[in-house]
């Protein structure tokens, strides 16, 4: 579904990705671990097409098509969706209006909001004054409406209380079609800093991103255990 080859990226003149390779097949969810500032969000933003992230070298292919120079909205319409870690507040724009923009399959926004205890926020300005948990929920519900084939989640668990983690976990499972097995087509790339998300979703592979390089590919739970025991540096030095 997504193939990234030898990706080198600068932000404001600083190199943030240094030759990243990735291959996420259809139906699989991969987890990206890494310290703050390791380049995890930069990778997601680059795949989405944000202009601040200048691609110096390399190629991004989605569904077999080269999207390296494609504008963001076209990527979104091709089926790439991103839940932001800290989405910007958009003054004067109702959350409901953006939900309607995302709603490609004519799902009932009201029913969806009710199911995820989000109804009261629909009339509020998008992301303005939202708590951490409310922001994450808003992002995931937008993606549920957008229904992308490739889902990118940037630290979906950060700032979320335990009670809401369960609700978010359900939303993520729905997004990634975890209820399907043989016919599952959705793929995902999820950034996790704390690893809580592993309790809620079954991931197929994990990596550690450090200093702009991908290290240590493997089973996500085992990887995370290793990181917990020995820290990121050890994990990288192990170079499995």
């Amino acid at each position: 579904m997504l193939e990234v080859n030898d990706l080198w990226v600068d932000v404001n003149g600083k190199q943030v990705l240094k030759g990243v390779d990735l291959n996420i097949p259809s139906g699989e969810t991969h987890i990206l671990f890494g310290k703050n500032g390791s380049g995890k969000s930069s990778l997601l933003m680059t795949v989405m097409g944000f202009r601040r992230y200048k691609i110096r070298q390399g190629r991004i292919c989605f569904k077999g098509e080269d999207i390296t120079r494609m504008p963001i909205d076209k990527r979104a319409r091709m089926g790439i969706g991103l839940a932001f870690q800290k989405p910007p507040g958009i003054r004067g724009v109702k959350t409901r209006d953006i939900f309607n923009v995302c709603n490609t399959n004519e799902v009932s926004c009201n029913a969806l909001a009710e199911k995820f205890e989000f109804s009261e926020l629909l009339e509020r300005e998008l992301n303005v004054g939202f708590s951490g948990g409310e922001m994450k929920k808003s992002e995931l519900l937008q993606l549920l409406l957008q229904d992308p084939d490739f889902v990118m989640l940037d630290e979906p668990e950060s700032g979320v209380d335990l009670e809401n983690l369960d609700i978010l976990g359900k939303a993520i499972n729905k997004l990634l079609q975890k209820h399907l097995w043989r016919t599952r087509a959705k793929s995902g790339l999820v950034i996790s800093h704390l690893g809580f998300i592993l309790n809620y979703i079954d991931a197929d592979a994990g990596y550690v991103l450090m200093d702009g390089h991908i290290h240590c590919r493997g089973n996500p739970r085992e990887l995370f255990k290793g990181i917990q025991r020995h820290g990121y540096r050890e994990c990288v030095e192990c170079q499995r």
Partner: protein
């Protein structure tokens, strides 16, 4: 009394205004007396009707408590549908109500500048709207000042009175005939909000590109009275300068001014509001949202706290959508007593790229994302504004959006 007024006006006829570029009044003639004779709703041309409707006026008087329509200096239509409400041409009101002389030119000085002087010396009517004491006229009253003659001046004087305990909601659409290119509009508006009354005034301007506009407004709000002003100007206009001043004279009086302005290239707007909080427990709010796509905007605001226990807030937010555009926010707070609570916030800048890209990640094109953000920026939900009037403001924004971006 009128003789004294006249001589004061004569002395001020060359007096330049404090703000805004000076206008040579001689350049704008006054249409001949019979120029729009015989005009009424039936004889309006299709083109004129379309333009007036476009400015938000309902020519069928549906869902309106009253209507006043003046083209140049002629009254085209004046109707009232609710008891306890008066809508009259200003000249008629001055004849019918001798007591009006006492209020006339009290909220705006006749010799403030050359424009007030011209409005007195070359008076061309205007409207008088009054809600009698205790009358709640919740259905909006509409007024339209329409200009049809190129290179001419329209000088009108309006007086609006919300008597004790009454409520008035007024929507005015000022506009020009599509065939008109240039002109001068001078509009004097005096508002008297009596004890416990509520007056909402929504003005939507839609001028021609080379029109010069000089409104002069004064507001007096008595004890527990509420004055709510909404001003929308999103279409091109060569030069607009106004600085309405409200005096809150009684305890508990409230004034709120909301402006939504856009300046396309070649357009110069110098607007704002001033509120004098003259009594304790008065409150004021001045909020402006301005956008330039190449024109110049000076967004002023001046709050003057003269008594303790007053609260006032000023907010100027500007969005620059083109490099040639200028927004100059000039917020002023002036506290004269300990115990005044006054604040302001001003921000001028471009649209945050992150917001555009965020919406693009939801599938909107760059143009759609920008339009959504601009619409949101202009979307000032005005507390206490009747839904019909909010709908008119929303409609004006929506209609201007395409030409603006």
């Amino acid at each position: 009394m009128s003789e004294i007024r006249k001589s004061r006006a004569e002395l001020a006829i060359d007096k330049k205004a404090v703000f805004g570029p000076d206008v040579d009044l001689i350049q704008y003639g006054v249409p001949a007396e019979d120029a729009s004779d015989g005009l009424n709703l039936e004889t309006l041309t299709h083109e004129d009707r379309a333009q007036i409707i476009h400015s938000g006026v309902d020519l069928d008087d549906q869902n309106r408590a009253g209507t006043f329509l003046q083209a140049d200096h002629r009254i085209v239509h004046c109707a009232v549908k609710q008891p306890g409400l008066e809508v009259l041409p200003m000249a008629t009101a001055l004849d019918e109500h001798p007591w009006l002389e006492e209020l006339y030119w009290q909220a705006v000085p006749v010799d403030a500048d050359k424009y007030t002087a011209q409005a007195e010396l070359h008076f061309q009517n205007g409207y008088f709207i009054r809600a009698r004491a205790g009358q709640h006229v919740t259905t909006p009253i509409q007024a339209c000042l329409y200009m049809t003659h190129d290179k001419s001046a329209q000088n009108v004087h309006n007086v609006i009175i919300a008597e004790e305990g009454s409520e008035l909601n007024i929507i005015t659409g000022c506009t020009t005939a599509p065939r008109l290119q240039s002109g001068l509009h001078i509009g004097i508006s005096e508002f008297y909000v009596k004890r416990g009354a509520k007056l909402t005034f929504t003005m939507i301007h839609d001028w021609a590109e080379d029109v010069v506009v000089r409104p002069r407004s004064g507001i007096v709000v008595e004890e527990d009275g509420l004055f709510l002003s909404n001003y929308v100007s999103l279409k091109p206009v060569r030069s607009l300068q106004m600085y309405p001043t409200a005096r809150l004279t009684g305890p508990g009086a409230v004034a709120r001014f909301h402006s939504i302005l856009a300046a396309p290239p070649g357009c110069e707007l110098d607007t704002g509001a001033r509120v004098l909080l003259e009594a304790s427990h008065t409150r004021a709010e001045i909020i402006s949202r301005t956008i330039t796509t190449g024109g110049t905007i000076r967004a002023r605001g001046h709050l003057v706290g003269l008594k303790p226990d007053v609260k006032a807030h000023l907010e100027c937010h500007g969005l620059i959508l083109a490099d040639e555009g200028v927004i100059h926010a000039i917020p002023e707070l002036e506290g004269h007593k300990a115990g005044v609570e006054m604040s302001h916030e001003a921000a001028v800048g471009k649209i945050d790229e992150e917001e555009i890209e965020y919406l693009m990640a939801r599938g909107l094109t760059e143009e759609e994302a920008t339009a959504t953000i601009v619409r949101g920026f202009l979307n000032v939900q005005i507390e206490g504004l009747p839904p019909e009037l909010q709908a008119e403001v929303d409609r004006a924004i929506e209609e201007s959006e395409k030409s603006m971006l």
